[in-house]
């Protein structure tokens, strides 16, 4: 294991006494934020904010305004809740990066993962909330509301590079790792994720059909692979937490 026992870090005995050496309570608290956050995320984005399944890209300005009017209340409840809980994304990703630091492949890609996901939270998660909150905040000229509709959906579904970088970092770190923190095949699932992200770029040029932001290829297939990947990541995050010896931490 690359994790060093606390008192052995630095190779010399320190006088730091561990109060509760068998406790992994901090790890478990942080771990449980992962499933809790993503469950909330699912509930909010699917049931309240109505951006999954995505509203259509191929509608008129008036239809966009009507769509906001029809869902204003749930959008406001959902995205105000997002403003409160979206920090869970940072904790979930931070904990994945923490477990990646325990790999024998070193900290480089753990930091790359943390960085790209931390950046991606703004365009990939929060900007749609801000745009839709601004759109439902007050009545506006229809073309401005329609602009916010496009801006929100495109940033939510089309912010691909941050996540592709994160998946790449995750995959490479797993492939080089000898501590088996995550299974090798999860790296391959991350590579599929990159492939789906590459294909989803087409939503920037396609406003209808399978490659649009609600299309079967650019959205649905990508979401299915993402859901599978996320569940696997969560499950193996639990196993990694199980296996981490109490009282250890990754090397700096």
């Amino acid at each position: 294991m690359s994790a060093t026992v606390l008192s052995a870090s630095g190779g010399e005995p320190t006088d730091a006494v561990r109060a509760d050496p068998a406790s992994k309570r901090d790890l478990w608290i942080v771990f449980w934020i992962f499933p809790i956050f993503f469950s909330l995320f699912g509930v909010i984005f699917v049931l309240l904010a109505r951006v999954i399944p995505p509203p259509r890209p191929d509608v008129t300005t008036d239809q966009k305004v009507q769509w906001f009017a029809a869902h204003a209340t749930t959008i406001q409840i959902g995205f105000a809740a997002v403003c409160v809980v979206f920090g869970g994304a940072a904790i979930a990703n931070g904990y994945v990066a923490y477990q990646m630091k325990r790999m024998s492949s070193g900290s480089t890609f753990a930091y790359a993962y943390m960085g790209s996901m931390a950046v991606g939270t703004l365009p990939g998660l929060l900007l749609v909330a801000l745009c839709f909150l601004a759109a439902t905040f007050r009545p506006r000229e229809p073309r401005i509301t329609a602009l916010l509709y496009d801006l929100g959906m495109l940033s939510f579904n089309g912010s691909l590079g941050c996540f592709a970088t994160g998946y790449l970092a995750f995959a490479i770190a797993i492939l080089y790792d000898k501590n088996q923190i995550f299974p090798k095949w999860l790296a391959y699932v991350s590579i599929w994720q990159i492939v789906t992200e590459v294909i989803a770029t087409q939503m920037w040029v396609s406003s209808a059909g399978p490659y649009s932001w609600n299309g079967s290829i650019a959205f649905w297939l990508a979401v299915i692979v993402f859901g599978f990947w996320l569940n696997c990541q969560g499950i193996f995050l639990k196993f990694a937490t199980d296996r981490q010896p109490a009282g250890t931490r990754p090397v700096d």
Binding site: Y176, P183, Q202, Y211
Partner: protein, 204 residues
């Protein structure tokens, strides 16, 4: 730090999914690589199904657009890729027989064919783009997407073949399972191309 070698294709198959060679049953490569390959096949399968669904909604428009593809280039690409697969498959045989030098030479052949495939694809793309066939046409959207993602797989495959060659060069790391994993991936690339070729170039 000594643990910097890619374990992607360096570790043996997990005991649970590898089976004894004595029985004549043998899992080529390892379970992780097969997981990757089967998953990739399923994802590509979904792309193919969506393509054929979309095509069946506007068969005339698709057929009309399909005629602008150059079948000769498609056939050439297929021959190149099938030949590269032959090289790689023979390389597995050579490795199994302990002829590592020959195996490396065969892998070079396979990799060269892969690069040739990418070059031909690049020519085809630039021809199509200069002729004005862009993603505004739905068929060409599929054409660029499917061949583009596939060519990414080819490029990744060339990289993997390179890693296999590097492993084979090291006498302490000449493991058959490494070559088999690389070969499995490479044949998947070939297999996917055969489907793409059939669906994009030939189907009427």
């Amino acid at each position: 730090m000594t643990n910097t070698e890619p374990t992607a294709i360096a570790s043996g198959p997990p005991a649970s999914i590898s089976s004894g060679r004595q029985s004549g049953v043998h899992l080529p490569g390892d379970g992780h690589m097969w997981f990757m390959v089967l998953g990739d096949l399923v994802i590509f399968g979904a792309y193919f199904i969506v393509y054929i669904v979309q095509r069946s909604m506007a068969p005339a428009a698709y057929l009309q657009a399909q005629q602008h593809l150059n079948i000769t280039i498609g056939v050439l690409n297929t021959l190149v890729l099938v030949t590269s697969s032959w090289f790689v498959a023979q390389s597995v045989q050579a490795t199994a027989a302990g002829q590592h030098e020959r195996a490396i030479r065969l892998l070079y052949g396979g990799g060269a064919c892969g690069l040739l495939f990418i070059a031909i694809k690049a020519c085809e793309w630039s021809m199509k783009i200069t002729q004005g066939y862009t993603t505004s046409n739905e068929f060409f959207m599929f054409y660029y997407m499917l061949t583009g993602v596939h060519v990414l797989h080819v490029a990744l495959g060339v990289l993997i073949l390179g890693i296999v060659v590097r492993e084979l060069r090291n006498p302490r790391r000449q493991r058959l399972s490494v070559v088999e994993q690389g070969a499995t991936y490479w044949h998947m690339v070939d297999l996917l191309w055969l489907v793409i070729f059939g669906l994009l170039y030939v189907v009427r």
